[in-house]
Amino acid sequence: MTPDIRRDPPAPLEPVPFDISRPIEETLENGLRVIIFENDRLPLVSFRLAFNLGDINDPADFTGLTSAMASMLTEGTQEYSSRQLAEKIERLGASISASASDDFTVIAASSLSLYSSEILHLLSEIVLTPTFPEEELDLYRRNTVENLKFQRSQPGFLAGEQAARLVYGNHPYSKASPRPEDIEKLDRETLVKYHAKNLVPNNAIFIVVGDVDRNELIEEMNHLFGDWQPREASVENFQEPPRRDSRTLTLVDRPGSAQSNIVLTNLCIKRTDPDYFPLIVMNQVLGAGASSRVFMNLREEKGYTYGAYTRLGTKRLAGDFEATAEVRTAVTGESLKEFFFELDRIRDETVGDEELRDAKAFLTGVFPLRAETQEGLTNLIVNQHLFGLPEDYLQTYRENVEAVTARDVKRVANLHIRPEEMAVVIVGDAGEVLPQARPFADSVEIYDTEGNMQDETKYVVGDDAETADVAGKWSLNIDFQGQRLPVTMSLEQNGSEVTGELETMLGNGQIADGRVTGSKLVATAQAEMQGSSIEFAISGKADGDEMTGTITAPIVPDPLSFSGSRQT
């Protein structure tokens, strides 16, 4: 073989068509829709009983009820205790799980097709006769309250909570999670009533994928679910998400944070919107993956972050667009600048042929990979039916992606990405972030991690504040668990830019991108310590020759305070 054949990437072979056959649909007398997708490739079966009932349907005074009801379904039935259920399911080598999302409640089961009847029987037990035992409910309350508290220590959760509130307003999609007091007041009777009222056959679809005989299955379904009575479903009456007319900045203050968790968001489309395909192609170009524009810019070129992405959250009734990254505190402003640059660029410029081709090749290429396992295929089918997508949705997915043009991309970017009305949410050290981020928004509000609004003025450095002179050699003591650890910080200053060195007993670090605003210093030091590379985030306030502040390292959970003076 000559080297020439090896020089360039080879052309693909003829595309292999991906024929997903159409399922069979039947409706039981009680209104339960059964969708059967016979597939005898392997002796496996997957069941999904899905309800048009999600967290958004929680009663106004019982946030978290739908999720609690779903989680508790597998914790005891009329015939079996929680432990007996676990043993019965595992003895079949099978699995059953139940959970709720924003829009839906789904009970999922899978097993060898040999045990199809047994697992279907257990599934019917779980759905029709759950008992919500007191002691299991008690455990659920304890664990969930612990988790909710833990969540508030996670910057990603705090950012998501604010973003949902800002985009969705009084629409229930705005509730990212219940509060501990919501969970503590959950009682057995409420769960029993909610279950009886809402898990009804006429509000559900039952999807079966795998090696089954449809006639036998329908017979079994009639036997197990035939007595399940329909009931009128509740009427949804939600407020519209708000119209936004300006760009706002929302800070969640986590003093001493080494990183800023950034979310830029605006209201976007619901899952069934006709712009869905152009938008996913646009999003692939812009930020969905590790070769998309925002990743290449903020991570590969600038090195601000480990990852930067954009995301479409398309739900049943509405949706949102988000651009997100966790960046070093000192480059928060620069990161916003690059994000807005990319958001403007995809709106203003027509995407190039090669970039468009790569984005479409990725989306069409990855599609069959998702359908390789029965679980993957089942998820595609379940989503199609829950969202009410066209019958030929899976069969035409790849054609629909291929049909998107560069003009379409530009059109939907202009329609659905709206930088002038975005909510900018940043979780980080508000004192450090505010001066960097303020110029990017028309208004600002600041919260603590519990969601209480804070007074903005306590973070503001006056416009007339002079940039402090921090150049020189500082002798500082870090307070570490009652001990005072000496460090020396040598700084050079050029306007507001600061560089220098941090010397500690354990090793030295280089400061490359420090900045002084008023009397405040923000810097990062890269240090080599005992053979490890560690990044210190320094946040100080200079008062003449005295300095106080905090220092944060990834290996220490909380910021350490320091104080000291300039050597003269």
């Binding site: 090896r6 072979l13 595309p15």
Partner: protein
């Protein structure tokens, strides 16, 4: 159910290219996706003293470009056609694999052959990958709570250097690596006759064979690597060690036993004993420690399969204020019970169903099929074991499990690593 259940066999075609590259084709047209796996017969067990971490360093080098693929080009090419890819290193082998839309088979073969033939082993690539590996060591081992315990316990179980040392290696040895060392390593171990190539998924075998000949056919073979001695005495190297872990928030412990090689009847029995002890919410130790006594936060166990002497582990993170020695006693009690009375018939039914279920699920994805076929082809010289292994496992009796638990687990010949949180004064 074990008597009646028959899994349709995977269809395999195996042959050897003239240069010694062993090929296994598993055509399965169900989904238009193809996976390609290349397994090189080199792992940390092949490393010499003073040169630990080389096999893994080399895995990184394989993504640094070759004659016709630029640095990072591998990832970009795969990504752009909607594929996925990775590479991993163990004691036994180094593997590389990708899953792509079926039409992109030539892309996978082009990429794999270009680096097998002409990897860019340059000083610059070596320097920057050495730094990347050090960073990975810091991130995944040194700066993680409990990050080093599996490397430590291997040193306690095994006496033979080939088995005992870690895959990530030592910083000093990585620093000592010269460009000549690395070139030599590539020549010896990354030869076509030291590798197995497996294709699984939607392809025409005749087209695949032509492509394989085109891309791999003229890569020169090399003299085979030197023979390797991985033999071990039965006793563990050390029974007890206390480890100060600066990052661990809670005490923890890990118990390890030295057991016979993978696929031996004893290993099969111990693998199933492990499932009975620690696998799933109805397992004995989960019910005893997580539910009954509520004494642990986390419980885990697994077997480490090797061609030579292998190992099995059980570990736990106890709840604060719980007595570690009592928890260990509870574990040994369950093992003693298993060694005395063997599994119950319900437990036998459960593990039979679970291993059948695992075997069927494994066959769904072209990537997991390709990986399993490649292991049997490389380790056993017979890819057809992918079709018979399930029945070997199903043939294991309750009495064999009882016996193996008695000989290999209910013994003082085990290693105990105690993790002491040393971060807070």
């Amino acid at each position: 159910m074990s008597d009646s259940f028959k899994l349709p066999p995977l269809e395999l075609e195996e042959y050897t290219v003239e240069n010694g590259l062993r090929v296994v084709l598993n055509a399965d047209m169900a989904i238009p996706v193809v996976s390609v796996a290349v397994y090189y017969n080199v792992g940390s067990r092949n490393e010499r003293e003073g040169r630990t971490g080389f096999a893994h360093l080399f895995e990184h080098m394989m993504f640094q470009g070759s004659e016709n693929v630029p640095k990072a080009g591998h990832f970009q090419h795969i990504m752009k056609c909607g594929g996925t890819m990775n590479g991993t290193t163990s004691s036994e082998r180094t593997n590389y694999y990708e899953t792509l839309p079926a039409s992109q088979l030539p892309m996978a073969l082009w990429l794999e052959s270009d680096r097998m033939r002409s990897l860019a082993v340059t000083q610059e690539n070596l320097d920057n990958q050495r730094e990347a590996v050090k960073e990975e060591k810091r991130l995944r081992y040194d700066n993680q709570p409990y990050g080093q315990i599996f490397d430590l316990i291997n040193e306690m179980i095994y006496k033979n250097f080939a088995n005992a040392h870690s895959t990530i290696g030592s910083m000093e040895h990585l620093d000592d690596a010269t460009i000549d060392d690395v070139q030599e390593f590539f020549r010896i171990y990354y030869a076509p006759n030291n590798a197995v190539l497996v294709l699984s998924g939607a392809f025409d075998p005749e087209v695949a064979k032509k492509l394989i000949e085109t891309y791999f056919g003229d890569i020169p073979s090399q003299p085979l690597p030197p023979d390797l001695d991985v033999s071990e005495p039965p006793e563990v190297a050390s029974n007890y060690r206390e480890w100060d872990d600066k990052l661990a928030p809670f005490p923890a412990f890990l118990i390890g036993w030295k057991i016979p090689p993978r696929r031996s009847p004893e290993f099969h029995a111990l693998y199933l004993a492990g499932k009975i002890l620690y696998d799933g919410e109805s397992s004995r130790l989960y019910q005893k420690l997580m539910k009954g006594d509520e004494s642990v936060i986390q419980l885990f166990g697994f077997t480490d399969e090797r061609r030579g002497p292998s190992s099995i582990f059980v570990g736990a993170i106890p709840k604060p204020e719980k007595d570690l020695s009592q928890i260990r006693e509870a574990i040994m009690n369950e093992i003693r019970d298993l060694a005395a009375h063997g599994p119950t018939s319900e437990e036998m039914e459960k593990i039979e169903n679970q291993i059948v279920n695992d075997a069927v699920r494994m066959r769904q994805s072209s990537m997991s099929r390709a990986q399993q076929i490649a292991e049997y082809a490389l380790y056993d010289g017979d890819p057809n074991i992918v079709n018979s292994e399930l029945y070997d496992l199903l043939a294991v009796t309750a009495d064999q499990i009882r016996h193996a638990a008695g000989v290999y687990l209910n013994t003082e010949n085990r290693a105990l690593l105690d993790v002491v949180p040393a971060g807070k004064g």
